[in-house]
Symmetry: D2
Subunit: 360 residues, 4 copies
C-alpha cells in the first residue's frame, strides 16, 4: 500500500513502480500510461491515470504532465525563453484534454502568500498575465482580434484572510462566470533535484497550501463546476527529503564505484568516481551492499527510510522546510516564464513567445 | 445646483454652505446636522445627512464622521498612538449607528492597488489587521475571550483582475457570510490640507477606485445586503485643486493684510503678514477686493473657478494627480494607525490601544 | 538679477532669456549657446555655457543637454526603446566633451533614497547596469571583447547614513580608482510638464539631494578629480510651481481666446478654445490684459509671482512637494530606460539597444 | 589537523574538542577558554582564543561570544524583546574588550545583498539603526544628552558593485573617520539547529560574503586600523550539513533507544523514543553500534562523513544552499532584534530596550 504524499504525479508513479518492481518484478502499473517526449532539449513526461490506476499510485484519474527544466536554475535568459516556449506548446496541447475552447473566458487564480517568497508563485504570475476581461466589458471596440477574455485573482492564504481559499475562489467564479480556471501554486518537492526544476500541469485540480502549509479544500472541476488546469512548480523541500535523497545518491555513487568499497581507507570511495554522467537506477547496489554501506538504514525500503528520518527529525523540531537561498531570483524567473507561456497560449495574437511583450 | 464631486462629505457640506451663504445669506442646510468635538486635541466632525439633506449636499443619507489629523504628517510616533486611540473610540461609537453587534463576524475589505503606493491603503491595512475567523473554524479551543470573528480580503483593482471589484466582494460575502463589512480605501482630496490629514468614516458605502481612478460599482448596504462601514484617507490631489487652494489662500492672505494692497511695490503684500494663525473664512476679501487682487478670475465663484482651471489644464494633459513625495512613509504610517484602531475596536481583548501588539 | 534655483539648465536659460527680453528686447545671452536637434521625434536641446555665460544664467561653465521625452509618460514599451536609443546616442556624443575614453573604467553612482520612491532613481538604475569591473579583476579570461570596466555604488542619503554622500563617493573613488564617474539622481522640476518627461545630461556635476531634500556637497570634477557626467530626471515638483504653471497656462489660454473675454458669462472663456495645439509664448497677453484676467497678480513678473506664491503657501505648511500618483511605475520605467542606454553606451558589445538584454 | 571551515567559533571549538577527545581522551584545548552563562533563559557562550589556541581550533586570537536563541524562531514578540535585551547587555560587556569608549563615533556596516532575502541581514539592520552623526555635524544643538555619533553604510556585494567590499568600507572609513566599526552579516550555519537561532559577536573581524557566497577580503582591525566588532546570524545551510546533522541525530536517537534496535521490524526503532528531552552527546552509540546502524558510513569520523557527503552531492550539483521557507519573516525579526539592541547599547539615552522606539 502506497501512502506517502507527493504533489507530483511523476514521483507517485516512480514510487509505485519502485514498489511494484520489488514485489512483482514488473514495471508496468495498470491504469497508468506514461509517454516521454523531448522538445528542444526539455523532457516532457505525460502521465495519464485512469479510474483503474487511481489506487495504484494514489493520484486521481486525469492527466499529469511534467516538464523537467533544470536549465531554469542556470538563470540564463536564453533558457527562460526556451522553457516558456515549450510550456506554451504544452499548454496548447493540454487545453483540449480539458475541452477548453479558444474563445472561453479563463480565470487565472494565483494561490499562495505574497509575503512568503517561496510561496509567492501564484501572486507573481498574476502580476504578469495579460488581463483583458474588463476591456471586453467596458471598451469592446479597443479589443483587437486574437485576444480572449482573461481575468485573474489572488485570493491570499487562510492565515491572512481568515477564509477558506476555496470559498473565495468559488464566490468569485459564481459572479465572474468564467468558462475555465487556471490555478497556479508553489509545490513541495519530494526530491532535491526537482526544486525550481519541474513544471507540472494537471487536470485534476489542486489543494491550496499543499506546498508550504496545511492543505485546504480542493479547487477542482468537482468543486468549481468548470474545468480546472493547475500549474505548479516545486519551490520548497524538507530536511527529511534532503537527507533521503542524499543517502540515495550515496548508495548509487557507491554502487557505481563498488570496487572502491574494499579499500575505503585511501579514497573515501567516491574520489575515483567519474561524475561525468548522472546517477541511474542501475547504479543502485544490491540489498547486501546497501547494508554494507549503510547498515540497518541501508536495509530499509524507501518508505521505511523516509518514515525513520521523519521520526528522528520531527520530535526535535528540526524537519525544516527550506528553499534555495536564491529564492527571490528563482521566483521572479519562474513567474516570468509561466506568465509568458500563459499569455502566449491564451491569446493567439501573442502566440509563439509574444506573450513576453506584455509582462514586465 | 451643486454638482462637483468630492469623496469627503465635510467638503460637500462646506461647499453647500458656501453656496447657500451667497444665495440666501444663511448657513444652515436643511436635512444636514453637524456636530464638532475635540478629543485629545483632535477635531471630530460628525455630519448626519437625512433623506431631506441628500439633494442639498449631493451625499447619500447617512453618517459621515471626519477626523482632522494633520499631526499624522509630522510622523511622530506619539501622534500615531493618539490618533489611533481617538479613531478606536470613534469606531466604537460609530458601530451602533450601523447596528454592528459585538459578536458579529466582520469582513474587512482592503480596496486599492498594492503596486501603486498612494492607492495601497486598503491592502496595507489588511496586512496588519488581526484575522481570527479561521481560528474559530479550525481551532475554536485556541480562541480566548475578547475576540470576535474577523476576516479580510484584498480584491485588487479592475486593471489587475479584469473583474468588477464589487463582483469579487459580493461573491466572497455570499460564501463567507460575514455580518458586516468594513471597507478601507484611499481617497482623492479636494483640498491640499486634507492629504494624509483626514480620516473619514461613513455609513453609506464606497465606490472602489474613487480616489485614484475611474469609479466602479458601489459597495454598500444596498448592494451587499449587510451594513458597510467605510474608512477612507485622502492620499492624492489633482493640480486643479492645488491651484484652486493656493489662489484661495492667496485671497485670504491678502484679505488679512489689506492695508498692504495699496503699496504692493515694496512688499509683495504678504511679507508683512503674520502667519502665526491659520487663515480663516473671515479673511476672505470682498468681491471688489477679489477682483482687484485676481482680476476676472477673482470674480468667479468657487465652482466656476474650479471649472476654469480644469478647462485650462485638462486639454494640455497637465492636470496631474499627485501625492506627497513621502508617500511610502505616509502610507505605512496611515495603515498602521488604521489597523491598530480597527484591531482595538473589533476585539475587546485588544481595546485601548492593545491592537498594536498584533501588527508589525 | 536672476536668482531662482532650478536643477535644469534649460529652465535657467529660458528664464534668463525671458528676463533679458523684457529688459533689452533681445533674446541672445552672451556666453550661452543653444542648439536644438530632433532625433527620432525626440527634442534634444544642447546648451553650452562659457565662463562668460555663468553669471547670466546662474549655471556653471559646461555642457547641459536636455532630452524632452513626454512620451515616457505614455508607458508604451515602444517609446521606452526609442528614448533609450536616443539617449544612448546622446551619451556617446557627450563622452568626448568630458574626454571619456572607450577603455576607461567608469564608476556609476546612484544617488538618492531607495525607501522614497520618487527619490530612488539612482538606486534603481544601479540595480540594472551591467557591472564588470570585478570580472576584469577575478576572471579576466571570462570577459569578452566589447566590454569595459564598470562598477556601481549606491551611497545612500545623509538621513540614512549619517555621512556626507560626497565623502562616501570620494572615499570609494580613492580606493576603486575609476577614470570617470557617471552620477544618476532624481531632480526637482520647475515646470509641471517636465516631470518624468525630461532627461538632463551635464558635465558640471551634481549636488546630492538637490531634487528632494537639502542640497549637499557637490560631486564634480573639482571635488573628485576625474570627469563627472551627471544624468537627472525630474520626478517631483512643489505646489508653488504647479500653481505658477497653471496661472501661466491660464493667461496664455485666455490670450489665445481674447475675444471670449468680453463675454465670460456664457463660456468661462476657454470652452471655445481649440486645444488642438500647444500653448506658445506668443499666446501670452499684454500686461494690460494680464491685469484684466488676474488683477494685481497678473501684473507681477515671473519671479515676483513665484515669490508671492511661496510667501502664501510656506507659512501655512502647504507648499507640498509632490510626485505623480503613478510614481512606482514611472520610476521603474525611467530606471530601465537609463540603464539600457548606459549599458549600450558603455559597452560596445551591447551598443544599439542590446543593453536591455542584461537588465531585468 | 582540523581544517573544516565554519563561521561560528563555537562550532570550531566543539569540533576541536571532539577530535581531541578521540585522540587524547581529554576535553580541554590549550589556549581556548570557554564560559557559559544563562541570562534570562538564554545561553551565552563566551570563547576566548589566545595566540596559542589559534592553531588548535583554526580561529584567530580574540573573543567569540555566542547567544543561543532558538526562541527567535517562535516569532513571539515577547522573545524578541528578551533576546534584544540580553544582546544589549552582551554588547555593553563586549565593548570594553575592544576598548570601545562611550563617546566614540561608531560606523555600522551592513554587509550583504538586499536583493537576496537570506543575505539581507546587514542592509535590514542599517535601515533600523538610529543614525546621528550628521546631526552632530549640522544640528549640534538638536542632539540631546545620551547620544553618540553613529553612522551606517550598506556597501553592497561585489556582484552588484564590481568592487571589493573591503575597498568600499576602507574608503569610507578614511573619509568618515569613525573610531570603531560594527559589522553585521548573515552567516552560513554548520548545524540545522543554529539557523536563525544563534547570534555571534566577535572581535576578530569578518569576511564579507562568508555566509552566502565567495569569501572576500577581510574587514578587521588589521585591515581597517580601528576596532571591529562583528555580529552575525546564520541564515543558510547546505544540504551536506542537513544530511550530516540528520545522520547524527539518527545515531543518537538510536543510541538512546538501543533496546529497540533488536526488534526493528515492529517499530522502526524510534517510535518508542520519548522525545521529551534533547539529544545529548552521551546518546551517541559506540563505534560498533554506529556501524550496525549505518554500516560503512557509521564507521567514518565527523570530518570523513562530511567529506563523503560533499563528494556525493557536489558533482551532481545538488549541494544546495538553502534557507527556511519563512526567510522573509525571519530576516525582518532578526534585523529588528539586532537594531534594537545596537541602538540601546550605543546610545545611553536609549538603554534598557528603548532602542525600539526609533526602529520601524
Amino acid at each position: 500500500m502506497w501512502s506517502l504524499r507527493t504533489d507530483l504525479a511523476i514521483e507517485a508513479h516512480e514510487a509505485a513502480i519502485a514498489e511494484r518492481a520489488v514485489e512483482e518484478n514488473s514495471q508496468a502499473i495498470n491504469g497508468v500510461e506514461m509517454i516521454e517526449e523531448n522538445i528542444e532539449g526539455i523532457l516532457l513526461n505525460k502521465v495519464t491515470v485512469s479510474k483503474e490506476g487511481e489506487a495504484a499510485i494514489g493520484k486521481k484519474e486525469g492527466h499529469y504532465w511534467t516538464l523537467s527544466v533544470p536549465q531554469l536554475r542556470t538563470q540564463h535568459e536564453k533558457w527562460q525563453e526556451t522553457v516558456s516556449s515549450v510550456l506554451e506548446a504544452a499548454l496548447k496541447e493540454f487545453f483540449p484534454l480539458l475541452n477548453i475552447q479558444p474563445d472561453w473566458h479563463i480565470l487565472i487564480v494565483g494561490l499562495g502568500n505574497w509575503q512568503v517568497t517561496p510561496d509567492s508563485l501564484g501572486p507573481l504570475v498574476c502580476e504578469n498575465v495579460f488581463v483583458t476581461n474588463h476591456l471586453f466589458q467596458h471598451e469592446p471596440h479597443a479589443v483587437e482580434n486574437g485576444y480572449r477574455k482573461v481575468s485573474a485573482i489572488v485570493p491570499g492564504v487562510m492565515g491572512l484572510t481568515g477564509l477558506e481559499t476555496s470559498d473565495i475562489v468559488h464566490g468569485v467564479v459564481e459572479k465572474a462566470k468564467p468558462d475555465a480556471v487556471i490555478v497556479i501554486d508553489a509545490l513541495a518537492a519530494r526530491a532535491i533535484e526537482r526544486i525550481h526544476a519541474t513544471i507540472q500541469l494537471s487536470s485534476t485540480g489542486i489543494q491550496p497550501g499543499a506546498g508550504v502549509g496545511n492543505k485546504r479544500k480542493e479547487l477542482s472541476q468537482e468543486t468549481l463546476g468548470i474545468p480546472v488546469l493547475s500549474i505548479g512548480i516545486p519551490t520548497v523541500v524538507d530536511a527529511v527529503t534532503i537527507t533521503y535523497d542524499t543517502l540515495d545518491y550515496l548508495l548509487k555513487t557507491m554502487g557505481r564505484s563498488k570496487k572502491e568499497i574494499d579499500k575505503p581507507s585511501n579514497s573515501l570511495l567516491t574520489r575515483a568516481l567519474p561524475a561525468s554522467r548522472r546517477l541511474k537506477e542501475e547504479d543502485k547496489p544490491s540489498e547486501n551492499e546497501r547494508k554494507l554501506y549503510l547498515g540497518f538504514v541501508g536495509g530499509l525500503n524507501e518508505e521505511e527510510k523516509r518514515q525513520l528520518l521523519e521520526e528522528v527529525l520531527s520530535p526535535l523540531g528540526q524537519n525544516l522546510i527550506v528553499t534555495p537561498k536564491d529564492t527571490d531570483l528563482f521566483m521572479e524567473q519562474a513567474a516570468n516564464v509561466l506568465a509568458m507561456a500563459i499569455n502566449s497560449a491564451l491569446h493567439s495574437a501573442l502566440s509563439e513567445g509574444k506573450g513576453n511583450t506584455v509582462t514586465h
